[in-house]
Symmetry: D2
Subunit: 347 residues, 4 copies
C-alpha cells in the first residue's frame, strides 16, 4: 500500500518511525562506537528503562518482538518446562512456532475470549505437576495489552502474579504494546513490570523503527541472558542505533504520549461506530485496536479502499488498528466509509 | 570510545552508517507500508540483489550476521547433518554456539592457518559417511573474505564448489564481508555467488546500520526459508527500513566503493608497516583487516590511544580493521603511533 | 504392587513379558553377534515386519514408544512444520513434551471426545497455510487403537489418508497398540499400515519386554532414519535382544493372539458391567481398555484392592486395562468387587 | 557373524548377556509390576548403585550409553553452555551429534593422544569466558576407561575434579566402561564417582543385555532428571527388566569380576604380542581393549578369520576388545593367528 494516500488501519507496524526517533538515529550516526552495546546510547537507554520499570536486574535490547518473547521465556524456563498461555497469545499463533523450535518448550494453552487469562484458568493446567510424563508448567505468559486490544487491570495482573508466586510459576509478560496499557490504565511502567519476572517492552509498534527491550526484574534471572541473546541471534552489532531509537521514545515520555494518542484514535473510531448496527464492536477498546463484526460483503467493499486485516473469517470479525501517527481526520474518513458501506442498515 | 576523537581500528562495525544509507532510511520514513516485506523498498532491494548475484532462487533480508549464517545453513542441512568449516570460522568461534543450539548441528572443523580451507581438508572429514554413528557431513561453510582478512581466489572457490558438488555436499558462504572480496578480486557478486548454494551478503560491515541478505541461489532451497526466517526471529516488521539501507548500498555500486575504500585503507596501513620490524604483518592483506604481531608492551601502549583487538594473546597478534569511513589521515596518524611505540626497534 | 496376588488393571505395561518372548531372549543369548543390528535376528524381524506391513521402505527397531513416535514424526517433518493431532494424543499429553523438545515442532491439537479425529477437524487447522507467521502443518498424527480404547474403522483411516494426500499432509500413526486394532477390526497389519506414511508398531504392550518398530512405508522417507535413530538415542547395541522379542511375537501370529485375548478380556469386563448403574462405561470398548464412570468413594474403595488409574478426577472416570496375561478369573474377581463396592446401587 | 565359532574381538557389546543377568531377567518376569520404575527391582538396584557410588543424589536407569551421556550432560548444562572434551570422546565421534542435536550444546574439543585430557588442556578452552560471543564452557566430559582402553589414575581424576571445582566447571564422567577402570585401579566405584558431578555407570558392555545408570552425585542436580529422562525417550515402561539386569551385576560384585576378567583377557592378549614386531601395541592396556599397529595386508588376512575393527586406516591401527565371556583359549587362538599372519617378521 506504499504511496497510498490513505492511512492504514492494518497494523501499528504499518506506520514508520516517529520523527523524534528518526532524528535520534541520525544524531547517533556520529563517528565510531564500540559494537554490541558498549556505547553511551545503550548505557543511557538501558539505565533509563531499568529506572522506569523499577528493575533490579538488567535490560537487553533486541531486534524484534519474537526475539524478545523467546529470549524472555528462555530466561525463565528449564529444558523440561512448559508455558501456560492464552490460545490467542502471539507466541502461540503468530511466531511460526519459534518458542517450540528455539526453546523446545511446550505451550499449554487455555481458551481466552478477550485475550486475557485468569488464575483459575492457569490452575487448570497444573494437574500434571510432579508427573514425569507431563511437560512441567514453569512459566505463565501473558500479553499486555492483549492481542484483542484489551488490558488486564492492575488488580488482574497482581492476582496472576500472586497466584504464580504461590504456585512456583514464573511470569513472562509480552509487552509489545505495553505502552498502550500504561496509557490506558494511567499507571507507571513499574506498576506493570512488578507483576512479571521478565517482560518485553515494545518500541517498534510505539514509533521506533525496530527495537524491543527485554526487562529482567531480578539479577538472578539475568545471568545467562547475554549469551542467550547472542545464541538467539538478537545481538545487534551497531547497537547504538537500537538504543538511540528507544532513547528518543523515553525522552519526555514520548512512548506514553504516542501510546495515548493511538489509544485515543482507537476510541474515537469505536465511539464513531456506536449505534451503527452494521459494525458491532466485539471487545472493549482499551488500547489501539478495534475489533468489529461486519457483513462479509461490507468487509470486502471497505477493503477496496482501506488496508486492514480480517481477523476471523468464519465469524466475520475484522481488526482495525491505529498508531502514533493516525490522525483524527484519518479516523473520520474511515468512519465515513464504514458508515457509507454499511449505511443502508443504519437506524 | 564514543566521542573519542580517534578513528577506531577495532572493527568495521564500530563505524556508523554511510550518509547515503542514512538518507535512504530517512526517505523511507514516509507514510505507511505493509509490514514484513510486502513493500516497494523490499521488492526493489530483493530483486536487485537477485540480479547482482545471478540468483534464481530468492533473497531474504535478515537482522544480523549470525541470523544470516544460521538461516542460511539451516536451509541446506537435514537434522542429522553436520557442517565442515575452518576452526576459525565465525560460526565456530563468535556466535556463542548458535549453529549448534538453533540448528542442532555439529561443526566438523578443519585447522586453518589463514581462514581458508581446501578440498583436501574437506575430504578428511568425510570418513564417517554412511555410518549411523557419525553426524553426516551435509554442508561446507566457508567465509569470504575470511576472518583473517584473506580472500579465496575464484579458482579456489570453484575448486571447493566442484569438490562439494561431486561429493554430495552443499556450500554455504558466509559473506559478511563479501563486498571486500569482490573489490579485492575485481569480480562480480555473481562470480562469487555461483560458488555457493546459499550465501550471506553483508550490509552492516559495509556501511549499513544493520541488515544482511541471505541469497538462495536455486528455488528448491528457498521453499521453507520464509518460515525458518520467522522461527529464527529474523523477520523484521518494518522491513522497508532494512530494504532501504541495502537499496542505498546497491545504488551506483556504493557497496563496492565502500569495500574498495576500506580495503585501500588496510593496504595503506600494511604498506606503512613494511620494513617496520616491530610490527610484522602475519597474513596477506586482501580486504579490510591487517593482522600484525607486536611486542605485548607495545600493544599495551598503543591501546592507550587507539581501539583495536588483541586477536591472540599467546602469539601477541593484533587485528586492525578499517571501514568505509576510515580516512588516509586516520591511517597515517595510527601508523605514526605504531612507529613511535615500536620505533626503538626500527632498523 | 509387586508380589500382589491380584492382577493389575492399571496398564498393559504392568504385565511382564510373554513366555515365548522370554524364551526367544534366552535363546538369542548364544555367542557373539555384531552390534547395532547387523545380526540374523534383526534381519529376520525387520524383514518379517516389512512383509506384514506391506512396507516398501524400511523398519527400525527402537527402545520405547516415545522413541518410536518422535523418530517417526521426525522423518516426516521439516524444521518449520507442525503436527495436527488429538488433544488426547499420547504425544501431546504423556511424553513430557518430547516432540516439542526433540523435534522443535508445534502440536496443533483438535478436541477429541473418544481419541479419534476426522478430516473435518484436521481441515480446521490448515488456515495458516502459506503464512510465514504460522507453524506450517506438515503431518497428522493419529493413534490406533486410541488412548481411549477406541478404534478407527478402516474407512475412517482411509478418509484421513486421502484427505491428507490431497492436502500435502503426511500421516503418522502411533501404533503402540496397533495389534489390538488389527484384532478388533479383523484386518491385516498391511490394511492399517497403508493408511500411514510412517507408523509405529508396538511390541511392549503386546507382550514384549521392551521393543517398538518404526515402519517407514516408502524408501524415500527412510533415507535419514538410521542417523536420526542414533541421534535420538534409540539405537540399541545388543540389538538381537530387541529383534528376538519381536520375532517371538511375529511367530504364529502371537502378536495377534495376544491382542485378541486382551481385547476379549476387556470386552468381558465391559459386558459384566452392563446394567450396573454404579459403573457406566463411557467409550466403546474396542481394544484392551474400559473407561468407566464411578462414584469417587467407590473408586477409592476399589483402589484399596486393585491397581488402576483414575483417568479424569473431575469427571470421576477410571481406566481399566487388560493385557495378554489377564485371565477370565481376574476379570471375574475384579467384576465381583466392582459389584460389591457399587452394589447398593444395583437395580 | 552370528553362529560363527570364533569369539569376536570386535567389541564388548558383541557379547550377549551374562547368564546371571539372563536368570535375573527371567526371574523378574513374574506377575505384574507397576511401570516406569515404581517396582521393587528398581528400588533395590537404584539404592544399591547409590550406595556403591556414594551418591547423595539419585540414580536413573536408562536404555543405552548415548542416552546416559546426553541425559547426564543435560543435567549439568545451561542452554548457553558448552562441553570441553577430548576429540576422541565417544560423545564427539560416535553418537551422531546427539549432544549437539538434543542439548544444543557445543563441544569444545582438545586433542588427546590416549583418550585422556588434563587440567592444562581444559584451561586452554576457557579463554572466552565471560564474552557473550563464545559458547560458555559449563562442563568437562571425561571417559573412564577411555575410548583407547586407558585409565585415568585417581590422582589424575582428582586433579581434573579440583581444577573444575576451582573454575566453575561441572564434571561429567562417561562410565560406559567404568567397571573396567575400577578393576584396573583396584578402587571402589565411590572413589571414581566422587570425581564427577554426574556420571554414567555402564551395564551393557559389562554383561547386561542393555541398561546404563546415570548417577547424580548431589540432590540439587537431580531435580529435573525424571522429566529430562522422559523427554529424552529414555524412560522404560517395564523398568523392572532394566533393574533386574543391573541387580544381577551388582550381586556378589559380578560387575567387578566381569570387568576384571575382560581386563585380564586383554592383558593376556597384549602380553602375547610382546616381542612380536609385526603387531605393535600402541596404548597402555589398562582395561579390555588392545590397540595395535599391523601391516594393512596382515589386518586384511586376520579379518578373514576374526571380527575386529580397524580403528584408524591411515595409521593402520586396529582395536581388539575382550569381554566378560572371552576365554583364555579364545585369546590364545587369536594370538596364534596373529603370530601366523605376521609371523614372517617375528624375531
Amino acid at each position: 500500500m506504499t504511496g497510498a494516500p490513505r492511512k492504514s488501519f492494518g497494523s501499528d507496524n504499518h506506520a514508520g518511525a516517529h520523527p523524534a526517533v528518526m532524528r535520534a538515529i541520525v544524531e547517533a550516526n556520529v563517528g565510531d562506537a564500540v559494537a554490541y552495546g558498549a556505547d553511551q546510547w545503550t548505557e543511557h537507554t538501558v539505565s533509563e528503562i531499568k529506572r522506569l520499570a523499577g528493575a533490579e536486574g538488567e535490560v537487553y535490547l533486541v531486534l524484534n518482538g519474537s526475539g524478545a518473547n523467546v529470549l524472555g521465556l528462555g530466561l525463565l524456563l528449564g529444558r523440561h518446562e512448559s508455558v501456560i498461555c492464552a490460545d490467542s497469545a502471539h507466541i502461540n499463533t503468530d511466531e511460526c512456532g519459534a518458542a517450540e523450535r528455539i526453546l523446545g518448550t511446550k505451550l499449554l494453552t487455555v481458551p481466552s475470549v478477550d485475550g486475557k487469562i485468569t488464575p483459575e484458568q492457569i490452575a487448570t493446567r497444573l494437574a500434571g505437576r510432579g508427573d514425569e510424563h507431563f511437560a512441567q508448567p514453569g512459566a505463565v505468559a501473558i500479553t499486555q495489552s492483549t492481542e484483542f486490544g484489551t488490558c488486564y487491570s492492575l488488580a488482574e495482573l497482581r492476582a496472576i502474579r500472586d497466584f504464580c508466586a504461590a504456585n512456583r510459576l514464573r511470569v513472562y509478560l509480552d509487552g509489545a504494546r505495553l505502552a498502550n496499557a500504561a496509557a490506558y490504565l494511567g499507571c507507571t511502567l513499574a506498576d506493570l513490570a512488578e507483576c512479571a519476572d521478565v517482560l518485553s517492552f515494545g518500541g517498534t509498534k510505539n514509533g521506533a523503527m525496530g527495537v524491543e527491550a527485554v526487562v529482567v526484574m531480578r539479577p538472578g534471572d539475568a545471568v545467562n541472558a547475554p549469551y542467550l541473546r547472542k545464541q538467539h541471534m538478537q545481538l545487534s552489532s551497531k547497537m547504538r542505533f537500537l538504543a538511540a531509537q528507544f532513547g528518543a521514545l523515553l525522552t519526555d515520555d514520548l512512548w506514553l504520549r504516542n501510546a495515548a494518542h493511538a489509544n485515543a484514535m482507537a476510541t474515537r473510531l469505536a465511539d464513531g461506530l456506536a449505534g451503527l448496527p452494521g459494525a458491532e464492536v466485539v471487545y472493549p477498546v482499551q488500547s489501539d485496536a478495534v475489533f468489529a463484526r461486519l457483513e462479509p460483503r461490507h468487509i470486502e467493499e471497505l477493503q477496496q479502499k482501506w488496508i486492514f486485516h480480517v481477523w476471523d473469517e468464519s465469524s466475520s470479525i475484522v481488526r482495525w488498528m491505529t498508531a502514533f501517527d493516525t490522525q483524527e481526520a484519518d479516523v473520520d474518513a474511515f468512519l465515513a466509509d464504514v458508515v457509507a458501506v454499511t449505511g443502508a442498515a443504519r437506524v
